[in-house]
Point group: C3
Chain length 357, copies 3
C-alpha cells in the first residue's frame, strides 16, 4: 500500500482540479457532475474496446459484502485483476464479525467490531474499499442516511466505492453506457422507470438510482407507479427534478400506464416497497394489488417508440418482464450487466488515480 508509483494518466482532464483536496469516494452519482460521469463512461467505453492499463498494478481492493452478489463480486474481482490489481472478497455475514457504526455506543450487543477500527485497518491493507450493504427494512428514517457506508467513508483513509446500499451508482453507469451504446446521445429522449410486480417488497436503491442518472443526463424521465404511495424518498425525487431543470429534461410521476409507455425510448423495470409501509408491510398489500398488471409485456412495449428495455439483474422472468420482451433484441440487460465490468474499472482507476496524486 501507498508505494510511490506512476502510470499514465488515463483521463483526458483531471477529475480533481487541485491536489490536496479532500479524498473523494464513489458513494452516489449525485456527488459527481455530469461532465465527470461522462468522463468515466468514456473511459469505460475505451476499456471495453480493449484498452489495457495496469493502473492498479500492485494495488488491492477489499470487496465487503453484507448481502449476496453474483455479478458484482465477479465483475469487481475480474476488473481489478485486468487492471493488474488484486481483489479480496469479504463476506460480512458469517465470514467476518458483526459491525457497529454508531459513535459512542457501549458495544455490549451483537457487534464485535466498530467500523472505526475495521475501516482504518482495511485502509492499512488495501488501496480501495468497496461495500455492499442493503438497508435492513427496519426504520427508513435512520436507514436513509446510509449509516454503514458513510461510516466507512468517514473513517477509511482510502477511497470507498458503493456496490449498492440505498443507491447503486455502478449500476447507473452501466445502464447509461448501455443506453448511449444503443441510443447515441440520450439527451431529450424519454426514459420510463416502471414499477413492476415482485413477491416481496424490495429495496428502492435501483429505482432511486435510475431517476438520478436519467435526469442527470437530460432525459425526459417518467416514473410509473401503481399508486402515489410508491413515491421515492424526497431526496431522490427532488434531485431528479433539479437535474431535469439543470440539464433541460423533465421529471414526472404517473399512475397512467398508457401515458407512461406512450412514445418512450427506454423502459427500465424495478420493483420496490412503498416507503410509508417500510418494515411493516402489511398495509401495503392493497396498493401492491393495483400494480398486478404492471409486468412489462409485448402489448405495453407496442405503445413505445420501439424502446429499448432493461432491468438490473437478477430478474424474475414472467413476473417483472415477459419472456417475449426479455428475449427480444430490444432487451439490453445483458449489455448493462457486462458494462458493470467496464464502468467499475473506470471508477477504480479514477479513485486510485486520485489516491496516488
Amino acid at each position: 500500500m501507498n508505494g510511490t508509483r506512476s502510470y499514465g494518466r488515463v483521463f483526458a482532464f483531471p477529475l480533481w482540479p487541485e491536489s490536496g483536496t479532500e479524498m473523494r469516494h464513489f458513494l452516489s452519482t449525485a456527488d459527481w457532475s455530469r461532465t465527470e460521469l461522462q468522463a468515466l463512461l468514456d473511459r469505460a467505453r475505451a476499456l471495453k474496446a480493449g484498452a489495457s492499463c495496469a493502473s492498479l498494478q500492485g494495488q488491492s481492493i477489499a470487496l465487503l459484502f453484507f448481502n449476496p452478489s453474483l455479478r458484482t463480486r465477479t465483475s469487481f474481482d475480474i476488473g481489478a485483476r485486468q487492471l493488474g490489481g488484486h481483489a479480496i472478497v469479504l463476506d460480512a455475514k458469517g465470514a467476518t464479525w458483526p459491525m457497529e457504526f454508531s459513535d459512542g455506543t457501549i458495544m455490549d450487543g451483537d457487534a464485535e467490531e466498530h467500523v472505526r477500527e475495521a475501516a482504518r485497518v482495511l485502509s492499512r491493507y488495501v488501496d480501495l474499499i468497496a461495500i455492499r450493504c442493503f438497508p435492513k427494512f427496519e426504520n427508513w428514517q435512520t436507514e436513509r442516511e446510509d449509516p454503514m457506508i458513510t461510516a466507512f467513508a468517514r473513517h477509511a483513509t482510502v477511497p470507498v466505492i458503493n456496490m449498492e446500499t440505498i443507491v447503486h451508482p455502478c449500476q447507473e453507469l452501466a445502464l447509461m453506457l448501455a443506453l448511449q451504446e444503443r441510443l447515441g446521445s440520450v439527451k431529450g429522449k424519454t426514459f420510463l422507470l416502471t414499477w413492476v410486480p415482485h413477491p416481496k417488497p424490495l429495496n428502492t436503491a435501483v429505482a432511486n438510482s435510475a431517476i438520478l442518472i436519467a435526469s442527470k443526463f437530460g432525459m425526459n424521465v417518467r416514473m410509473l407507479v401503481p399508486d402515489p404511495v410508491y413515491r421515492l424518498d424526497d431526496r431522490y425525487m427532488d434531485a431528479a427534478q433539479r437535474f431535469a431543470g439543470e440539464e433541460g429534461g423533465s421529471f414526472e410521476m404517473t399512475t397512467d400506464v398508457e401515458a407512461a409507455y406512450s412514445g418512450a425510448d427506454a423502459v427500465y423495470a424495478k420493483s420496490w416497497g412503498a416507503l410509508p409501509f417500510y418494515g411493516n408491510w402489511g398495509g401495503e398489500a392493497q396498493y401492491r394489488a393495483k400494480g398486478a398488471g404492471f409486468m412489462i409485456d409485448e402489448a405495453k412495449m407496442a405503445m413505445t417508440n420501439n424502446a429499448v428495455v432493461s432491468h438490473c439483474l437478477p430478474m424474475r422472468r414472467n413476473v417483472k418482464i415477459a419472456d417475449a420482451v426479455v428475449d427480444s433484441p430490444n432487451f439490453l440487460g445483458i449489455e448493462e450487466a457486462e458494462n458493470r465490468l467496464h464502468v467499475q474499472k473506470a471508477v477504480m482507476e479514477a479513485l486510485s488515480h486520485q489516491s496516488r496524486s
Copy 2:
C-alpha cells in the same frame, strides 16, 4: 474477454478437427473419444512433470459451487493461476441468488434469477465456467437430465466444465492418470468398483463415472453391489457395456464378493443410494443391510492381484475402507487427488484453446 491472443498449441493433434464447429464443453467423458481423453491425460502428465505454459494468460474461470468442496475449489483455483489465469469462486448457496433453469417459468417462487441471464452474463465476464451441482434427491427422472449444468451449457457462450453433478468427469481423468502411473497400460486389467457402506444414501455420480472411464479404457470392469437394486442408471450401464464392446473389455455386475475381488488389479470404493428408493429412502434399509460387510479390508484385498485401491475424497475411514488398507502402499487416493490439479489444467487448456481458435 475474447481478446485475440495466440500461444503455442499444447496438444499434439487438434482436439477439434474443424474450426467453426459447435462449441464443446466438458460435461461427461461419454462425449469424448478415448483418443481425445488420452490426449488430455498425456498433457496432464506433462504438466505434472513440470511443463509450464501461460495458456490461460489474461483469462478467467468462474467456479460456481452449489455444494461444498475442498479439493475441487483449491485445485481449480491453483491450476488456473499456474496457467497464468484467474479463478473466481462463487458460492451459489448463500453468496449468490437462487437460480431457475426451466424455460417459460413464472418466477414467483424462491429463484431470483434465471440461468439464461446468469450464464450469458458470466460469459461476458469470464472465459470458462465450471459448475458443481449435486442432484437434490427429489426425483431421479428429472434430475437424471442434469438440468442445471445443461441449462448453463445451452445458454453460456463460453465452455462449461463439470465439477460434479450426476457424473464427475474430472475425477475420472484423475483416477485414470493414477491408474496409468501405477499399472502402465490398463487395457485388459481388471477394475472392481465396489459399493461400500456409508451412513447416508449418496449421489451416484462417482460410481457412474468409474464404470464409464474404466470401460472406455478397455478394462474388464466388475461392479460389486449388495443387491441388484444398486444397479446404476441404464444410461451408464449401457454405455459401459458399449464401451467394453468397442474397446475389447468386459462389464458385469455381481453380488458375489469373492468372485468380484478375485484377481482384481484395481479396486475402487464408492457408496451410493439405490435408485428405486431415490428421495424416499425408507425402503432401502433392508438392501443396505446386505452390504454391511462390504468395507474394503485386508482380507478382501488378499484375494486380489495385489491390487491398487482408491476412493475419491472425502472418505470415511473404517467405514468405507479400513485404516490398514488406506495406509498401505497400494492406496492411490492421494495421487488421484493430486492428479485433479493436473488433469483440470489440461481440460482448461483444451477448452480455452478451442474458444480462441
Copy 3:
C-alpha cells in the same frame, strides 16, 4: 508445487542451521528462540519499509478457516500476493467437509473427511497451509492439546502456520513489532495484560500469547485478573515464568488494579473465560462480576508511565476499552493490526524458504 527455484536469502543468518532437519511449522512462538523471533521482526520491519521480494513467486498458501476472520484473511491474502504468491481461502464451516482428526476412528458420525487425507492432499496443491481453529469450549483437557492443527502439522508435508487456535502467534509478532516501534527496546519495560469485561466467556488464545511474547522479550509482565480463577493454563504460566528467568524479566499475576497499572509501559486488554468453568460457564458469573470495573479508562491509564495501550481486533468499544483511550495517541491497536500483514509476510517467507532449501 515443489518446483526447483532459487531466490535470494532474505534473512541475515540461517534460521535453520542444518538442512535435512525436521520441517518446522509456526504453531507457537514457544517453539522459536528469541533470536529467531527477532529475525522475523527485523524482516517484517524491512518489508513494512518497502522492501520487496518475490519470495513466494509461483507458490500458494491455503488459508483454512474453521472460524470467522476479517484481518487475518485479508492480511494473509494480500501478503501472499505482495510476495508474488497466491492464497486460497477455504471456509471449513459450510464450504468444505466436516473433519475428523483422531486416529483409528470409525468415521460414522458427522465428519466426512480425515485430516490425514486433507493435509496430505492440500500439501500436493499448495506450499504452505495456514489454519484458524478455535477451541469448541467443550473439554479443555482435550482441547488444550490443539488437536486439529497438530494433526495437520503431523500429516502435512508442507509447513503449517497458526492463524489462531489456543494461541495466536502471528498476533504476538504484530504486537511485539508495534511495541518495539513505539518503545524501542522492550527489555525491562513493564507489560500489563489486563482481563477486561465482555458479554461472553472467550478463548484464552490471545491472553496465552501475550504473556508468552512479552516474557520472551524480557519484559516485566503483570497479569491482572478479577480473581485467581482466571489463571491461564499451567503450560503458559510456567513458560512465561521460565522465559522471564531466561531473559531477565519477571512474571506475576495480581488482582490489585492499582498495583497492576502503576508505572506500566504497555497495557494490553483481553477478555477470557475462567478455565475451571470451561464449557460449563454458569458458575463463572460470580467471578466475572468482580471484573465489572476492569474496562480500561482514562483514570486507570493515568496511573501508568504514559503507557501505550492495545488490543487485538475485533474490540468492543466502551466495554473493554473506553472511547477516550482508544482514540488517544497512546492506542496502538491499528498499528498492531497493520503489522499482521508485515510479520505474516516474514513468516511465510521464512517457512517457504525452509521448504525449498
